[in-house]
């Protein structure tokens, strides 16, 4: 089920490519450069991967709704999904020196999202609904 600004996927990593393509097309239309586009699709990929793995435990009967909006020189990608309350902004930044010294694995998705996007907003909408919004500013007047 898609329209110009929304795509709904079942919660499976096989659908990550579909989400990336959807968001990439919107980012191209808005005039982001190729480096910014890569940062945007990577952030959305990381957000959806976390939802699929940790919120939905790979349960494909769950859905993620991905909505794109652009206003006031901001590109907003909103993900709406059912599941437990988890605010990525409350996660501590990893110490990368320690990370590499100890050969750690995983835990880089949220730091990447925060590094590449201008803002990450999270709302627990009602007892079982979440809304995660990734915001990238259009730097130049386009």
């Amino acid at each position: 089920m898609t329209n110009a600004n929304k795509i709904v996927i079942s919660s499976s990593t096989k659908n990550l490519a579909k989400v990336r393509n959807f968001v990439e097309n919107k980012a191209v239309e808005l005039g982001f450069d190729s480096n910014e586009i890569n940062q945007i699709i990577l952030s959305v990929d990381e957000a959806c991967t976390n939802i699929i793995k940790y919120t939905h435990n790979f349960n494909e009967s769950e859905n993620i709704e991905v909505i794109t909006e652009s206003k006031n020189k901001e590109f907003r990608i909103i993900m709406k999904y059912r599941g437990r309350d988890f605010d990525p902004n409350k996660m501590e930044e990893p110490n990368m020196k320690e990370y590499f010294n100890n050969f750690k694995v995983g835990g880089l998705g949220i730091p990447m999202m925060k590094k590449f996007m201008n803002k990450v907003e999270y709302h627990h909408v009602n007892p079982d609904m979440n809304s995660l919004t990734l915001i990238k500013s259009l730097q130049n007047s386009r």
């Binding site: 990593t13 990550l16 490519a17 990368m96 990370y99 590499f100 694995v105 880089l108 730091p111 990447m112």
Partner: protein, 115 residues
């Protein structure tokens, strides 16, 4: 459909993995399987050629983190080569060059094993 493939070639005691396509949480299991097989075969000197890799997410980065210690503990290493600027920027922004040797050319990575 975005795909991911791995070609494997041997150069004396060094194994070269050629990555092609999109490496994300859906496809990273393929790369894990390749590393597991190399460890089973006691092949610890690895060069990963990124020339045809179009995309990598943190799931892909995690595979390299998961195996580098085993390779180094067995007198080997995982050396990376031929990254596009787009891919290198991801590794660089997270600080991966602290731990990984990253070369522009596969040949340089191969030569470093013999120094």
């Amino acid at each position: 459909m975005e795909e991911f493939n791995i070609d494997i070639k041997n150069n004396n005691d060094i194994t070269i993995l050629y990555l092609d396509g999109f490496l994300d949480a859906h496809t990273s299991g393929e790369l894990e399987k390749s590393f597991e097989k190399l460890i089973e075969e006691k092949k610890y000197k690895i060069v990963v050629n990124f020339d045809k890799l179009s995309y990598i997410s943190s799931a892909g980065l995690g595979v390299f983190m998961a195996y580098i210690e085993t390779m180094r503990n067995n007198n080997g290493d995982v050396k990376l080569s031929n990254m596009s600027d787009k891919i290198y920027n991801i590794f660089d922004m997270l600080g991966f060059p602290i731990l990984f040797e990253i070369y522009k050319e596969e040949q340089t990575a191969l030569e470093k094993f013999n120094q």
